[in-house]
Symmetry: D3
Subunit: 336 residues, 6 copies
């Protein structure tokens, strides 16, 4: 099993949740980025993963590379150069106070990537799946073209293509996103998106009189599939944010005209929600590549995501066995 | 807008909540004191604040001064001298274990303050409001006289007077408190007190057959107002302590014969409840000075208090916009 | 009041709950072991305690000795020698993620203890109670004989004997445990065990159609008592593990054909559950030695156990007065 | 006394000195920048200081503002806007390992500053001295013009102008620096530069057969003064870097055709050398503004710089009395 | 061997050496006091030690008691009551920056001690030596009388009396000290004092034309002995403070008309010098009680003191064997 | 370039240098072992490294594996099973206090390794060099045979064999070591040993009237080479331990009848000396594999070792370029 992911690597600088950024002088820093996070999770499941990005040719870029290597990710095609690594500051929330994100990712090496720097022919060799997200598309016109080129080459080689909408309002408008995403959808096999994406980015007509989340999603996924019959699998989570420290999470997976879902997981305390969605995506992709049935897949993916919320840092760090032990277990009691 | 607050500055020495004081050798220390905390909050709302106190003329007194200055508080009238800064030790509680407070505030510089050291004429110049609390009254006979003098001068200048009962059983008896508080009440416009204060300190007749907290408070506030018609606004919070880590909070404000209240805020986890009452008082005072309607004021004040519980340290650190974003928001989800 | 406890001392090496063991390079370490923990609690209640164990004759053994001494435990009979101290690694769980225990206790000095090293005659002099647990029995055939010898001598001297089943599936099989425990039961006055122990270790017939936990326990305790009429008191807790961070706990005590129980305590957050059972056992033993009535005893013991969960480390650290303040109190609000 | 400083504010992100950046996930962060550091020192000496810069209009810019305010610096003319705050990573060296700096300051708000954003007329009102450094000149062509404009206006108003060469090879070439610096030198009263600057940036003929540092500096300063007779005072330090943890420092001051110097201070351990030069500059400026004799000034400035090396962070934090106590003292023994 | 020490217990609140007190919010706290420190060291050498003091009857007093107990000190005569524990703040120095001490010890429970609270008859029972210092005398007139009484009773019982001058200029004047110390000297067997004490407190004529420290001390000790022939042993250290981080230390011991000294120990880095003198005193007392020859004693005592400087906290923590291994060893190389 | 190293992996548990093990409850832990450390260094120089060891099949063994992988070491032949990982406790010394090592490595999985578990045929495939140390020989008779077998197979394949004497007095006697080492020496090309090893382990006649270290080493290396002409290169360091915090280091390399040496490096402060010898060995091996001249090799190796002393942890973390920058540089000044 071999997966290629493509996207921007970011450094996250985060404060302790009991102080404001202006009161502190300590950051914990993590490397992340949606596509890197997916690669990290998949590597923990034993998948051969190759990650394509561009980082600066300095100590920060080198630290990125070592982070990826320590997670058993193939970095032989990682590009070095450009001005800087994108980063963002997170004033960590807790309880009633929400986390505050301040982006400082403009002018990043990846966002300046040029088409001629990437040799998809060599990168995609031997791959089973290619994954990227809407964040990559948001960063530049050139990146949209590079992504399109990657997807086309993947299609030609019979490699599955996975795409997570990951809409970020701080990066682009719905209108821009809509235009760019509609261009890539015809090449996609697996889509991570939810009903808001359907309405705001794909202009699917709003469902009136809906009864529950399951039915609602089924409607929207079918509508999207009607427009893009190439998309075989849709997935998303439903997250209820009770407070910064308490979330409720459900996983949804649509395949073969049928939606599968999990029961509701209560996550309390939330140690770190960042990367939770990427852990879910990795779980779904792993289930699909393993040809598991949808119910097993959606539980595995949601379990992996729930576990991610108990660890600080963007990347998940659980083996298949550990995720399964969690999804099959009834108690968090110590075994000794 | 210019506010003068008057009271004792304290250093709080607090342990990590997972160990007992006797097991630890690390204190986190904060500067506080009810009146300083109110000043800190008001300064964050953009109010000109002047704080009057007396701290020792040594490195600790200097640190107090710098703390106040870093919070944009006018310290030009801060007195230096005397023996020591009052301090107290807090063995932080968590979950089922409550916090343990050990006071070491006797013989403090402020508690030895002499009338001739304070020039109210110069201090109150240009002020819109004067605020102090029952803690100041509890510290010495002389401080009761100084406070009375301040209130009288404020009255003469048309400056609003605000008083928080803040009864501390470790500092004085109900009987002593009652006597001292009754002397200042005729000069007060805004009173922070609750039904317990009404019964135990002001000897209001107990209400039998009460139905709910709102009606109960209305009865007591009306009774107090009957005796002290000068008091135009009453405010308090209702706090349910589920455990040291989980509180429920409601705000109440009585003005124009009408009580306004908030819904119940669940605070979980409680990072630090100390200063929560002062953040509320500051919010109420800011609403009154801004001539907001009572409903807006009580929500703003309670929201500020709730947010305070998510930060370590006595002083709040939120702007008007941040408090309003919280009171108007429905989710603690990260925005990115 | 003088109590002797006998068992293996262990070092626990534990990670911060927000990282995996493989991601961290920091351990917090604690000394523990079921019987040492009971001694630590009893010493805090003012009991003269003597602890018998064997630790290596090096810096680690010395640190064990100092730990015990700093808890006012008599270490004059603590043996030094052998190869090593047993230790175990705990990857601390939080929320949905459970703690992972990795034992490294094989070949410990205590597990190699020889009968001739222990002089029960001198050790038991003046004692009122002797306490050990099933863990001691699990460690070697020789330790089973040493324990049996200790119990016999205690019986001869009129010293009460207390035994906590503490079955550990990682140490031995139910079959081995059953055989060893049945040999010591005839010498026991106070037994800490639950319905699972009754079924799996003592082969008591399973109760069908049970209605609630209280009735169930009564049935099993009566059945055991029928076989071992020497056992006068049975005790156990019922723990519901909602998540690693949220437990519910009830205490049960059976004496004079009657079961006493507490209401349910919600423990949230759980700071550290290890040692919680030992804190309970110490509370029960203290109540029995103090000739308190069962209701008082079971509430004191459960209260002590609940408080233990709020402290990091195996050993409890509360005085009688502090436990009673907790069991009698209704609020965790700070008193000041 | 009123001083205006002008330059770029930076965030420094620094690792613990016992690990490499790639091995760590913790940064301590400080705010700094040569001109801000000078302002912080001067404020501690009681000088009214006003700092002009531009920071982004987000949580990071706000934190900069609060940092300056907590150091009693006037921020009323601090500009907000643009893309980002310049920052740099420091892998802290120790002993034989040197610190590694990785800049990430490109595209900063300050480096994009436009002439029309700065109203020198209002900023310079009431000032006694204007200070900036070569770093400001290095950042853009526009900043060179803005700086020139500021210096001209200062000259017109009879305000002293101070300039620290602060050549940074990572920011520009010697040739570029030379050209820009020569344009500002005619407006300067006080120059911080050393013999390397004289040779490489001002093309002063190299002194052959020099005997010692004092004579060497005298020669170069006289040569520069011959070209720019407006410069009345020259200052610099001589630093011997024995290792990252052990430096030797001497201060030099040239005025009235005479050079004054200090004895050699051994600094061991060096806690943090960053800001050491700025602490020296502030000391020199304070001595000049106070009309102290050169010997007193150079000892005060060097003492302040030495003390800076014992504190983590860019900004110094000593009063006049504390610096003088150090320069006059013979022992670091505790007084008690 | 049984030793009784008598004096004030203090809490030390100390900052990290890389920040100023006003910049920090973390204190490490230690319990100490000259006489308690001597007791802690002696207990580590296996001596039965009893410590007499008075601490408040609250959580802080209890923590003091547990600290002493964890160091195997007999606290059965420790008094509880009064207003507060004396404490002091230490802004830790490093390198060129000296530590800054701010006392807050006024009104302490011990300083208010009354003669009738101490039953010397029971306390001194079985003792071989009684030790106190000039700090105790400095605290009140009453304490001078209590101390005198203790010494007289000790004399009557044939118990050796030891006294450390420990002059603290922040506590009293030389004149007051002189008067009080001269009253106790006739009862003393072992005196810790140096040539400064001889000149300033005992008015010994200054030695002109002295050649070295050894001769100087010999002269002064002989002069004091001439006045107080009861004093059999004098001891002191000579400390050269190169910087806060680098000291040089020599030990001196005068007995039988002969002075013994050590070579010079370089201490670098100095981790914590507080308690270094007390570790030396304990070493001298232990040598005397063990009837070691002066050379062995002075090396043991100085070695113990040097080791103390490598540990944070007031109390030393080395066994006899560990001190001897240090004094006899030539290398600090790891043995493995 | 491909190198195979073989030896025991250990976990080091180390305290902060300002406290004693018995006073602390925090360990920093590192993975190490002489042969693993050499592999880590070589991997940083870009060498393909394969490490053979046996670790337990649990969370600790897995953490070892991930540590090796994150250092780009091939772990495909790492064995899993057995009872435990060897570990040791280090009470970190500082200044005058030396580090105290307490081993707990008995019964480790590696020490129980059986010949049939290791397939040298597959392991050595493609290797250029095989490296192990005397520690491996010390652990069991079986390991001596396994090592001999490995060396023989290496010889047969034309693979260079490197051996570091690494005598550990806590593991075996000189006599046992002598016997075992003499058996492997005939197969060795590169030997790390010093004059003490020559005298005590190889019974080389002591050199009288030696003049300096260089001549001494030359004599001993020639004597050993006379007995074992197969050894082509000898290397060692000369370390002067001024204190735990200050070392002086020189590198020596003997090849082609000629000894090469470095100047003396002063290391102050010593952050962590453990692994310093292994960093040196890796540097020497890399120089030999790169066919560098002896002078370049010995400076590179010693420079790498010196840099290792500035980092916490056993493994070095410097690239070829970074080591060369250090060996060629004259100053530790920050470049910016
Ligand atoms: Ca991983
Ligand atoms: Ca995500
Ligand atoms: Ca503020
Ligand atoms: Ca409050
Ligand atoms: Ca205890
Ligand atoms: Ca237990
Ligand atoms: Ca300042
Ligand atoms: Ca500088
Ligand atoms: Ca001790
Ligand atoms: Ca001392
Ligand atoms: Ca590496
Ligand atoms: Ca080594
Ligand atoms: Ni959160
Ligand atoms: Ni969250
Ligand atoms: Ni989150
Ligand atoms: Ni709490
Ligand atoms: Ni609370
Ligand atoms: Ni609280
Ligand atoms: Ni738990
Ligand atoms: Ni928790
Ligand atoms: Ni527990
Ligand atoms: Ni430096
Ligand atoms: Ni340094
Ligand atoms: Ni530096
Ligand atoms: Ni010192
Ligand atoms: Ni120091
Ligand atoms: Ni000291
Ligand atoms: Ni060392
Ligand atoms: Ni060291
Ligand atoms: Ni070392």
């Amino acid at each position: 099993m071999r997966v290629v992911t493509f996207g921007e690597m970011l450094m996250r600088l985060t404060t302790d949740p009991t102080v404001r950024l202006q009161q502190s002088n300590l950051f914990t820093y993590y490397y992340g980025g949606a596509e890197a996070n997916v690669a990290v999770s998949l590597a923990d499941f034993g998948v051969d993963t190759l990650y394509i990005s561009k980082v600066p040719d300095n100590s920060i870029g080198e630290a990125c590379e070592k982070y990826l290597q320590s997670n058993q990710i193939d970095t032989r095609h990682l590009l070095k150069g450009g001005d800087r690594l994108g980063l963002y500051f997170v004033e960590s929330g807790i309880g009633n106070r929400s986390s505050q994100v301040t982006y400082d990712r403009k002018f990043s090496s990846f966002s300046q990537l040029k088409q001629e720097e990437v040799n998809w022919d060599r990168i995609l060799e031997g791959a089973d799946l290619f994954h990227t997200t809407g964040i990559t598309l948001a960063l530049s016109e050139e990146l949209r073209e590079i992504t399109l080129e990657a997807m086309k080459q993947a299609k030609n080689r019979g490699i599955k293509v996975s795409f997570d909408f990951n809409f970020r309002a701080k990066l682009w408008s719905q209108q821009e996103a809509s235009k760019a995403i509609e261009k890539v959808l015809p090449f996609i096999d697996i889509a991570f998106c939810n009903h808001m994406d359907a309405v705001h980015l794909l202009n699917i007509e709003v469902l009136e009189n809906e009864t529950d989340h399951e039915e609602k999603l089924t409607y929207y996924y079918k509508q999207i599939q009607a427009k893009y019959p190439n998309i075989q699998v849709f997935a998303s989570t439903k997250r209820e944010v009770v407070s910064s420290s308490s979330h409720r999470l459900e996983g949804y997976l649509f395949a073969d005209q049928h939606i599968s879902k999990t029961h509701t997981y209560t996550i309390e305390p939330v140690v770190d929600r960042i990367g939770g969605g990427d852990a879910y995506a990795a779980g779904v992709l792993f289930g699909i590549l393993s040809k598991w049935d949808p119910d097993k897949t959606v539980h595995f993916a949601t379990g992996a995501s729930v576990l991610k919320h108990t660890l600080a840092g963007d990347g998940n760090a659980f083996s298949i066995a550990e995720v399964e032990q969690f999804t099959q277990n009834v108690s968090q009691e110590i075994s000794r």
